[in-house]
């Protein structure tokens, strides 16, 4: 598997220009915006990035995945935030704390996030991919709650509800009507859910 040598290199090296993934992701987003997702071929994306179609598939499993490269990091961050949340917090509170804690990531790149979301909103295939990413995120959050001692089905329900809260808040935040920060919108949606379920 890995060589016994311990020395590793920080700088990317090689005969090829750096930043292939960045170029591919940028080219894909631009083409998906201008021609639409279905009308752009993988060959076109690769060409715009100065690569071949085959190389595209060495970086991304399929034509959709190029838009979801950041999902893994987001999930890792949220899982860590849940794990590091105050032990005294209830499950739902730990989840919402993690969500608001990660909100900055979106707020720092609102323009890019907005463009990406417009492309996704225009294509059912991309929506499917986004939904399964969110489902896996919910499963990972449920697992993180489990590590905190939350039993099932409470862990899964809290995680799914948390993701639903995030979805609703995110849509409002991106939608534009809501001028508040994403973090505030999340806590607002969470309290809405609390009212809904606890109300008699």
């Amino acid at each position: 598997m890995m060589s016994t040598t311990a020395i590793r290199y920080d700088r990317v090296m090689g005969r090829w220009p750096d930043g292939a993934t960045e170029r591919l992701e940028r080219a894909a987003l631009e083409l998906y915006q201008s021609r639409g997702f279905e009308s752009t071929t993988v060959a076109e994306i690769a060409e715009r990035a100065g690569l071949t179609e085959r190389t595209f598939y060495r970086h991304y499993a399929d034509k959709r995945e190029v838009l979801f490269a950041g999902a893994a990091q987001l999930q890792d961050l949220l899982v860590r935030l849940v794990a590091e949340a105050e032990p005294s917090l209830a499950p739902i509170e730990a989840i919402t704390a993690a969500l608001t804690g990660a909100a900055a990531i979106f707020e720092e790149r609102r323009s890019l996030v907005s463009q990406r979301q417009k492309v996704i909103a225009a294509n059912p295939e991309l929506q499917e991919r986004e939904l399964i990413k969110l489902a896996k995120l919910a499963a990972a959050l449920a697992e993180a709650l489990g590590q905190r001692g939350v039993p099932e089905p409470a862990a899964t329900l809290a995680a799914e509800a948390g993701v639903a809260v995030f979805r609703v808040a995110f849509d409002r935040w991106i939608g534009g009507g809501d001028q508040r920060s994403l973090a505030v919108t999340i806590t607002d949606s969470a309290s809405h859910l609390r009212e809904l379920t606890s109300a008699r």
Copy 2:
């Protein structure tokens, strides 16, 4: 578009055997079970059903859709149940009432539903399709709540939470560990969610 003639016919007629969709759905499920989803071609499904590949695509938009033919009827039923629920019921209660009311549809075909779910569980592509069906279901339920006078974002949150409750309950019911009826499992999950969100 439509002829001015008012006479319509109940019996399917024509030179072709009836039940093409039933044959296609049955053939698809069987092949997806035995060879796996990815390893079966649409041509094989069509051949087993006594048809051609092109005809398959006249009945279903794509290779996955053949497993989700019943989703539309389920959605219609749930929307109707929400609309017909007691006006005094709170949003979440109307949703759970509809879900338990539709549970019988699954309980009557537990074997078929279980086989189908095993196939879906084995394939990410099929999971994506299921997730978007559930998302559209949630949107339809939110719309139905809107007709009852429930404002946003409460309607969407209640619908999303309701679908999450159903997912958790369905998984437990199918998973086998839970010997209770699906309807009971749903109400149980709903009360779990209530405890989670209202708990101090």
